[in-house]
């Protein structure tokens, strides 16, 4: 469709940017421009201003991209790695189980040894009088030793250690 009237400023602006004027066929608009001296003069005036605008160059230095990447990286949320925490938890759990399973047995063996030695000392009080009784070298058994001597409890602890593989 050929526009019979001259092109308006918006048409000229859009044609300058190689865009289609609203409601016009771009080829028809350019044909009119070629034929109309008045529209050509207005178009030339427009182009002189737009071509004369200064460039806007950001003038970024060559290391800008690297700096921006580092800057963005610093702002990223730290990835939470659960592996170290899990490892720590499991190690602690294993340590607890080892201690709880080993300590009662050790206490039980110490107490058994202490009892035996006490019996020997009672039978040979004079012979051991000059010697420092070994029973006294043993650390004092905690009051809970009576409970730990409970065979049923020891069996349960053994079962637990079998389950956990410790």
């Amino acid at each position: 469709m050929i526009k019979r009237t001259c092109l308006n400023d918006q048409d000229l602006t859009l044609l300058h940017y190689d865009e289609t004027p609203i409601g016009l066929d771009p080829d028809d608009a350019r044909r009119h421009l070629a034929e109309c001296a008045a529209c050509r003069a207005r178009q030339l005036s427009l182009e002189r201003v737009l071509h004369g605008l200064p460039r806007l160059d950001p003038d970024l230095d060559p290391h800008h991209a690297t700096r921006m990447a580092a800057r963005v990286k610093d702002c990223l949320p730290r990835r939470r790695s659960f592996l170290p925490a899990m490892t720590t938890v499991m190690t602690a759990a294993i340590a607890v189980l080892v201690v709880t399973n080993w300590a009662p047995q050790r206490q039980a063996s110490h107490n058994s040894s202490a009892n035996q030695q006490a019996t020997v000392q009672q039978e040979m009080p004079q012979a051991n009088a000059q010697q420092k009784p070994q029973a006294t070298a043993q650390p004092e058994t905690p009051p809970e030793v009576d409970l730990l001597e409970n065979l049923e409890l020891l069996k349960e602890l053994d079962t637990l250690s079998e389950i956990t593989g410790v």
Binding site: E19, I22, R48, V49, L53, L56, A69, V72, K73, C75
Partner: protein, 211 residues
């Protein structure tokens, strides 16, 4: 697996990607990033940093603000990657985000100026713009800097949307259809805004006429 895919996956080639990654390479890189490859995201940022910052600077006219906007755009990209479908290129997504952030920033600045009578905008220039380059001819340099200053003043008087549309068309070379998609508005609206921006600039910048 094609050689292009292998080259992308091989971390030894991380520093030797082509300047502009093609769509396949970009898709593979995005998959790596989604799998937890943070170094891959760093590569993505380096790929786009200059263009993104350049766009923000053209829109805002201030280097520090432009870099802040660019940083925010990359952080949003990082958050959006799990749901990033890849229908559009990363560059398109970044351009859209930067433009919207810049428009929001300009609107807030305008509101602050109106509320607090602040004179910050066209009179407050980026010192980097005003710094002289010893390589330049002093007289030409002065004219160039003054021309940029005048242009910035004139752009500052446009509405944020007009300023963005004019910058994207005139300085970034985007088509009006692309701009319409980027801003999620009708193409006819973009054309109207462009025309108004050019009319305003012409009335203010009559001295900028190409000889």
């Amino acid at each position: 697996m094609s050689s292009a895919e292998a080259a992308v996956i091989d971390r030894n080639f991380a520093g030797r990607y082509a300047r502009d990654m093609d769509k396949v390479q970009e898709r593979i890189l995005l998959e790596q990033i989604r799998s937890g490859d943070e170094a891959g995201f760093e590569i993505l940022v380096k790929q786009h940093a200059d263009r993104v910052t350049g766009l923000a600077w053209r829109l805002l006219g201030h280097r520090q603000e432009a870099e802040d906007i660019a940083q925010e755009a990359f952080l949003r990209l990082h958050r959006a990657l799990p749901e990033f479908r890849g229908d559009s290129r990363v560059s398109t997504w970044l351009y859209r985000t930067v433009t919207r952030l810049a428009i929001d920033f300009m609107r807030r600045e305008r509101l602050k100026r109106r509320l607090f009578f602040s004179r910050r905008d066209e009179d407050d220039f980026d010192p980097v713009d005003l710094a002289s380059d010893p390589r330049d001819n002093p007289e030409r340099d002065l004219n160039g800097k003054q021309a940029v200053r005048r242009l910035r003043q004139a752009l500052g008087r446009l509405s944020p949307r007009q300023r963005a549309i004019f910058t994207l068309r005139h300085y970034e070379g985007m088509s009006l259809r692309e701009i319409a998609e980027l801003l999620d508005i009708e193409e006819g609206t973009v054309k109207t805004h462009l025309h108004r921006a050019v009319t305003a600039l012409r009335s203010e910048l009559t001295e900028f006429q190409e000889d």
